[in-house]
């Protein structure tokens, strides 16, 4: 829309400035609390700074340090592993559950109400609660294993580097299953029932109907779920910070907790590495941006197909 088109469409000069008044507060808040910090983080990532005195410009050195930092690579690997597994689980399982729920059940509303509860609870409460459940000696998880005769599997789940990430993935799934299921359900309810009728007249079995009607019709919704999972995974912080703090021995350290520790976790007397931590935050930003752009491309292409 060009300015010329605007003037011809609306000649009332009186109405023009009032629009600015309406949006001015948002723009002001945005500039101060989002836009400026965002732009400044680009600059900060090119500096070396402990937070006192003034920042020293060091060019791309933080990124060179990053490339040689074995902890960074381990943390990046953890982040990708956590994101990859949770994205697959939290895309597929909610879809299956939504299809099941969508078949119509007498207690359907009750089921929906119950599975959605974790989505309204804070990740701190979730984390603390599951920390107690995973507690090695008295935690319910091991108690249940012992109760059903599988006591040999009882395990310090969060204290073992091999089980800590899977244990966190389980909590992530528990927490987000209801939310993604209801997103899918909304999508399912938008599918025209005549498509299923046509398919069943053609003799398609329920599983064929799922593959040839449900899955393609939910392409857009699935895209949204995937991108949300990717972004949630890349930026994940609260739950892991609360439950393990990135331990044991960085086995569950992800980008978010690593940069947070570098910037704010220096109670032990280490110097805050604000420049380096900001450089790592840039990595999170780039990963989320990449996920968003890929999703935009795919949804645009599928819109063309439709």
């Amino acid at each position: 829309m060009t300015a010329g088109a605007l003037t011809t469409r609306r000649r009332s000069i009186r109405r023009r400035p009032i629009g600015y008044l309406f949006v001015a507060p948002i723009v002001l808040f945005f500039v101060v609390f989002v836009g400026y910090p965002f732009l400044r983080s680009f600059y900060l990532s090119l500096t070396s700074w402990s937070g006192l005195g003034s920042a020293r410009f060091v060019g791309v050195r933080n990124f060179q340090v990053m490339a040689d930092d074995p902890v960074f690579w381990k943390v990046l690997g953890n982040t990708f592993l956590f994101t990859g597994v949770t994205t697959v689980l939290q895309t597929v399982l909610p879809l299956l559950l939504a299809v099941l729920l969508n078949r119509g059940w007498r207690a359907g509303v009750l089921f929906r109400t119950l599975i959605f509860i974790p989505a309204v609870i804070s990740l701190v409460v979730t984390g603390v609660l599951w920390q107690l459940i995973y507690e090695p000696n008295f935690g319910t998880f091991n108690e249940i294993l012992r109760g059903v005769g599988l006591g040999g599997l009882a395990h310090p789940w969060l204290a073992d580097p091999h089980t800590v990430l899977p244990a966190l993935m389980v909590v992530s799934l528990w927490q987000s299953l209801g939310l993604f299921t209801l997103i899918y359900l909304a999508g399912l309810q938008g599918i025209n029932p005549s498509l299923y009728e046509a398919a069943s007249i053609d003799g398609a079995s329920p599983s064929q109907q799922f593959r040839s009607v449900t899955v393609p019709m939910l392409r857009t919704v699935t895209g949204v779920v995937v991108i949300l999972n990717l972004i949630n995974g890349f930026k994940t912080f609260d739950m892991i910070y609360v439950m393990t703090g990135g331990g044991p021995n960085r086995a569950s350290e992800v980008l978010g907790t690593y940069l947070y520790g570098l910037a704010f976790g220096s109670t032990a007397g280490a110097v805050p590495a604000l420049g380096y931590a900001t450089a790592i935050s840039m990595v999170i930003f780039v990963l989320c941006l990449a996920a968003t752009l890929i999703q935009l491309r795919i949804s645009r292409r599928s819109a063309d197909v439709d």
Partner: protein
């Protein structure tokens, strides 16, 4: 949970009123009934696993302290003692009030500014509108961890660290673009004729917004309020980072800190958790549909 299971499964095995399989021949019918019971069973197990941690939390919070470890799952005797201790030892009323104050202020400011802006982007014309809109929405997917450090430095230079007001301002700034985006979508569905008629009657633009259009956008308002209430009440990272003075801490960082200090007092821990979720679950159960709408729309952002 477990007591409900047999009856519900039995109901499931009996043919329901759905009538979807009446046309099927008998063998198909019984197979259909079998898959239906399996489906019910799956739903019951999934709901039970989802709800179990909350029931366990509640049960543990009501236990006398000396029966927590090794006792049966359902406590034999219950006591509210842990709630009393959490209330007094953790300075709970103060933190609870901080959460209420910060959340309420954030919701009110976000709602006021987001409806104004959303309305303008939907219904008013002004030069540069499209550009401003795109810029505001460009950071919708920007994770807070990516700007936490510059935000911290900014708050420090404004002398707003360790203040609830500072936290409110940051929350509002972070939440506005998305809330505006939601409100714009709601205002777009309203007909322009209402505005034109009001203009003919000589009403000013602000009056048209506040008296004519805003009341019609009530569903959008409810969605924004619920989504904002939830995300502010549950926010942890910024509260943990910007506030270190104990007297100003809202609930989430307190709940996080409690684990370290009282790691063996499980009734106290679970009582503190329970009190923090009760307001949310109470509102959720009453306004379920709006919650789901708010959250699933909100998910696009979070």
């Amino acid at each position: 949970m477990s007591t409900d299971a047999p009856t519900t499964a039995a109901q499931a095995a009996a043919p329901g009123p759905a009538g979807t399989w009446e046309a099927l021949p008998a063998p198909g019918r019984s197979r259909r009934a079998a898959t239906r019971s399996a489906g019910y069973l799956a739903l019951i197990i999934i709901s039970a696993v989802t709800v179990f941690p909350f029931l366990w939390m509640l049960a543990t919070s009501l236990r006398p302290s000396n029966t927590v470890f090794g006792g049966p799952l359902v406590p034999r005797s219950v006591t509210g003692g842990a709630y009393r201790r959490a209330w007094t030892q953790l300075d709970y009323p103060n933190h609870f009030w901080n959460s209420v104050y910060v959340t309420t202020a954030t919701v009110v400011i976000v709602l006021a500014l987001a409806t104004l802006g959303g309305y303008a982007f939907a219904k008013l014309e002004f030069p540069g509108k499209q550009l401003i809109y795109v810029v505001l929405l460009s950071t919708l997917m920007l994770p807070i961890t990516a700007i936490i450090i510059p935000l911290f430095l900014e708050m420090r230079s404004f002398n707003l660290l360790n203040t609830r007001q500072g936290l409110i301002l940051v929350y509002v700034g972070g939440a506005l673009p998305f809330a505006m985006f939601l409100m714009r979508a709601f205002f777009e569905t309203l007909p322009d004729e209402l505005i034109q008629a009001a203009r003919v009657d000589g009403a000013g633009e602000f009056r048209i917004f506040a008296r004519v259009m805003l009341p019609l956008a009530a569903p959008g308002v409810a969605t924004v309020v619920i989504f904002q209430f939830l995300s502010t009440w549950n926010e942890f990272l910024l509260a943990q980072t910007f506030i270190s003075a104990p007297q100003y801490l809202p609930l989430q960082p307190v709940l996080y800190g409690v684990v370290g200090q009282h790691s063996t007092d499980w009734p106290l821990l679970t009582a503190a958790l329970t009190m923090s979720v009760v307001p949310i679950i109470a509102v959720y159960v009453r306004m379920q549909r709006r919650f789901v709408a708010g959250m699933t729309l909100g998910a696009v952002k979070d």
